[in-house]
């Protein structure tokens, strides 16, 4: 795909130089600011990055230093990654919504000397961290607002750093070129911290080889070219965003679009119309829920038309997408639907041009998955990890299914361990956990095989990988039957009314569940059914809501009972939680995954009540507000019994 011999393309700065030569006039970055999409070509991008890199050298950034990057998705911050590499430094991205405390750990662990912040909010946190963590030498900020009166002895505006770099280019450019040339294929490209479902975050060191090989392989798998458009809206600190917005963007030379603010994401998505799109299942779920809520409010004729054509789309849409034969009449009807329903709907959602779409991170509901595919959106699943530079398995265009995560990505080898755990080996496998040889050794063996921590199996005839649950979460009930909480939770979460669920049962005689309702979906349902409520807590405790959730739980029980191995995981009792599980309270990780241990401890009184057989339970829960203050929520929760399906086969208790 490139005229240049690949031998030269061993670093991100080298790819940047190639892009300037080949696609110099094409847009590399866009950002919506002041209501207009501002864009930078590859040539302009390169100039901006050089100016920043030279400015950083002038400020004293040395090879091998760590440079932390915190903020929302903006071109200036993406440039910081490359500028750091040009200086021979290691960029480290941090989650922007992390608290100062969480940042302190990461900044201290990586020993960052320079920190580039998006705005005042991030600068304030870093200043707070500086009280405890020594070694942060310079703070650089992009957005000047509110920062004028701060002590600037060790603080500079991004634009000023660039200006200094430009002014001193005679002196600084040779230094930068020299450092740039000194970087090799096995030098560190970036360091990203895992979100830490358990314990402290670990710094995953990824080399240029990891990132570039992975980008190359995955780009060719999906035939990505320089003409793709992506919307960069996922956290900078997440490996996926780094691969999509830096790795693949640099390898292919395509354009990265940054939204105006977090709240305008949906509008910006529609304006850009990306061709290559990634979103966690939650985003697809929310979008579908919104569409359905709005259709409920539509006129009767529109609603009828929508239902009729969506039913047709569900019938033939996926087949058409897979290139399977479909009758001429059905094709014609689908084309009509495309004109009146699917096309406008895709346009509203911002998916008109999506050629390749991925979802990963959690299991996606089959109905949701099929909805998008039936519209003709090529949505696929992938399975990945930070330690693998994302890609472990992904679905090829002609092998998309809701229940698997696809076949091994190019260059990846898979094997299943004795305990059912999935192992992989690939060029993308991380170098090490920074300053943590012990964890590195326990995760990666001498031959380069990495344990995923997930239990799964490979389907013999298709080669597709299926994931059941986290390996450490798969346990046994008191009577020895298999307990896979995630499997049941996912089934629960496929109902739009259920946002989050936590199933408990390891080592006990039966399973119970704690459930979070989805305020958007349930609130709308309440409105339509004339159910008055004043707060989340009141709605969550409403008897009719409980009835509805109970019917969902019983449906799930029926479906779980069909699988003999997992029939023991049926839910005997449940409650609806009075507050949403929140990352600020430590109940979820920053990537919105449930932290079982924390929840089990925090809600121990509720768990006891579930197994104790009481009808209701009084509880007080501590909550942390966004600004770090704490408060308490008091509630009396109703506990409900759910019908379970008796399975004929009894597993003998030993």
């Amino acid at each position: 795909m490139t005229a240049t011999p690949e031998g030269d393309l061993k670093t991100i700065p080298a790819l940047l130089a190639r892009n300037v030569r080949q696609f110099g006039g094409r847009p590399a970055f866009r950002e919506k600011e002041f209501g207009i999409w501002q864009s930078w070509t590859w040539a302009e991008t390169s100039e901006e990055i050089d100016a920043l890199a030279m400015g950083l050298i002038a400020l004293g950034l040395e090879p091998g230093d760590h440079l932390a990057i915190i903020g929302r998705n903006r071109p200036a911050l993406y440039w910081s990654f490359v500028a750091a590499q040009k200086c021979g430094a290691v960029p480290v991205a941090l989650y922007q919504d992390a608290s100062a405390e969480e940042m302190a750990y990461v900044l201290e662990h990586c020993g960052a000397r320079f920190v580039i912040c998006g705005d005042q909010e991030q600068v304030d946190k870093v200043i707070e961290v500086q009280e405890k963590v020594a070694g942060i030498d310079q703070i650089i900020y992009v957005d000047k607002r509110g920062l004028r009166k701060y002590d600037h002895t060790h603080m500079n505006a991004y634009a000023d750093v660039q200006a200094e770099g430009r002014a001193g280019h005679h002196r600084l450019e040779p230094v930068m070129r020299e450092r740039e040339a000194a970087r090799g294929y096995d030098d560190t490209c970036v360091m990203l911290y895992t979100s830490g479902t358990t314990g402290k975050p670990k710094g995953v060191v990824l080399s240029n080889r990891n990132i570039i090989e992975t980008s190359k392989n995955s780009a060719s798998f999906d035939h990505l070219t320089e003409k793709e458009e992506i919307l960069a809206y996922l956290p900078l600190a997440w490996v996926g965003d780094f691969i999509f917005s830096v790795g693949q963007a640099m390898w292919c030379g395509f354009c990265v679009n940054c939204p105006e603010s977090q709240d305008t994401m949906m509008t910006d998505l529609r304006e850009i119309g990306p061709t290559y799109y990634f979103a966690p299942p939650r985003v697809f779920e929310t979008q579908l829920t919104n569409v359905m809520i709005r259709m409920e409010d539509a006129g009767r004729f529109k609603k009828w038309l929508f239902d009729r054509y969506m039913a047709h789309a569900r019938k033939v849409g996926p087949a058409l997408l897979d290139g399977k034969p479909v009758s001429a009449g059905d094709k014609l009807k689908y084309r009509l639907g495309e004109m009146f329903i699917y096309g406008p709907l895709k346009n509203t959602l911002g998916f008109s041009r999506v050629r390749v779409g991925y979802t990963a991170g959690e299991a996606i509901g089959p109905e949701i998955f099929d909805f998008y595919r039936s519209l003709g959106i090529n949505l696929k699943q992938l399975y990945g990890q930070t330690e693998a530079s994302v890609f472990i398995t992904q679905q090829p265009d002609d092998g998309v299914r809701a229940d698997t995560v696809g076949v091994a990505s190019p260059g990846v080898e898979l094997k299943i361990g004795d305990n059912g755990e999935v192992y992989y080996r690939s060029p993308g496998v991380f170098v090490e956990y920074y300053k943590n040889a012990e964890s590195t050794a326990s995760t990666k063996d001498a031959e380069g095989w990495v344990a995923t921590g997930d239990a799964g199996f490979i389907e013999e005839d298709t080669g597709h990988l299926r994931i059941i649950d986290r390996a450490k979460d798969v346990g046994k009930l008191a009577d020895g039957r298999m307990f896979a909480p995630k499997y049941v939770e996912n089934k629960l979460k496929f109902f739009p009314n259920i946002l989050e669920a936590v199933v408990i049962g390891a080592g006990r005689d039966r399973c119970c569940a704690m459930i979070n309702i989805d305020l958007g979906a349930v609130g709308n349902w309440a409105e339509r059914n004339n159910i008055a409520y004043a707060s989340y807590q009141e709605l969550a405790g409403h008897p009719q809501v409980l009835n509805m959730i109970q019917s969902h739980v019983e449906e799930v029980n029926a479906s779980v009972a069909e699988d003999e191995m997992l029939a023991g995981c049926q839910i005997h009792r449940f409650l609806v939680l009075h507050k949403e599980l929140d990352a600020d309270d430590g109940e979820l990780t920053r990537t919105q995954k449930v932290r079982r241990g924390v929840i089990g401890e925090k809600y121990a009184d509720l768990v006891d009540a579930l197994y104790g057989g009481a009808e209701s339970v009084y509880t007080e829960t501590e909550v942390t507000y966004e600004d770090g203050r704490k408060g308490a929520i008091k509630a009396t929760l109703q506990l409900r019994d759910a019908k379970v399906v008796e399975t004929a086969q009894k597993v003998a208790a030993e």
Binding site: F34, G35, R145, G146, R148, K149, S261, D263, T264, T267
Partner: protein
């Protein structure tokens, strides 16, 4: 109490200039009712000046005198060193004074963007024909004004509701839009009539930050009326306290807090 024209620097590094506006012995009557009785105070350049007092103390009337909406029967208003004659509202706007209202006065059916655009009216000089045809000068002007408005939208962080009709917005956001419209006029002196009324704690914190940022970034002098004492004491450089149309205190928040008359007015002492 400060006096004289000398500028000084506050503890947080802002420069407060000389006197911008001076009220001299203002008395305002509606028929037989005396709303304001012989009040004098000044507003200095770059400061945040609060007017507080119990209900019916005459605060809003005072703000209306400053804005030129009411003409006091007695007393003089001095602005930038000159005595101000009675004026029409648009003449006041031209002098660089803008305001927000206690009960929001926005165009409910228009978008946020259009509402803020109305604040730029004073900058649109193109003729009727040019505007109607959207050609020549009018087109250029619209682009320039839109740019200014977009900067304000960015400043107030309301990008996501740019195209939303104001009628659909919650109260706190409407208040923010109203502040945006006032800012669009690029005022030297900004009058805020109870900017935090009816807001929850979080909205109050947001609004306080915006007021401080406006003062800091644009150097705008701000005079505000507010009930929430916590907010007033945190925000303002100097405070005027009114009760029953009279001035009972004037000074820094600390001075005012320890003023016996003010304490009496707020805790309720029998009046003669």
């Amino acid at each position: 109490m400060l006096d004289g024209q000398d500028s000084y620097t506050t503890a947080d590094g802002r420069t407060i200039g000389g006197v911008m506006m001076e009220m001299r012995n203002i008395t305002l009557r509606f028929g037989g009712v005396v709303a304001i009785k012989d009040i004098s105070f000044d507003i200095r350049e770059g400061e945040i000046r609060a007017i507080i007092g119990p209900n019916g103390a005459g605060k809003s009337s005072m703000l209306n005198v400053i804005s030129g909406f009411y003409n006091p029967q007695e007393g003089e208003v001095w602005f930038h060193g000159a005595k101000r004659p009675p004026m029409k509202p648009y003449e006041v706007a031209r002098q660089g004074i803008a305001r927000t209202f206690q009960n929001i006065a926005l165009f409910e059916g228009m978008s946020v963007l259009d509402n803020i655009m109305t604040g730029r009216l004073g900058f649109m000089k193109a003729g009727l024909m040019s505007q109607a045809l959207w050609w020549g000068k009018a087109q250029k002007e619209e682009t320039e004004n839109r740019e200014a408005v977009e900067k304000i939208i960015d400043f107030l962080e309301i990008q996501n509701i740019r195209k939303t009709p104001v009628g659909r917005l919650p109260y706190g956001l409407k208040k923010r839009v109203e502040l945006g419209r006032a800012l669009a006029a690029e005022p030297k002196l900004l009058l805020l009539d109870e900017p935090m009324a009816g807001m929850n704690v979080e909205e109050k914190e947001d609004m306080s930050r915006f007021i401080l940022d406006v003062n800091d970034e644009y150097g705008t002098t701000i005079a505000l009326i507010e009930h929430d004492m916590g907010v007033v004491m945190d925000l303002s450089d100097r405070v005027v306290v009114m009760d029953y149309g009279k001035k009972i205190g004037d000074g820094t928040p600390d001075e005012v807090r320890n003023n016996q008359d003010v304490i009496d007015a707020y805790l309720g002492v029998a009046h003669d």
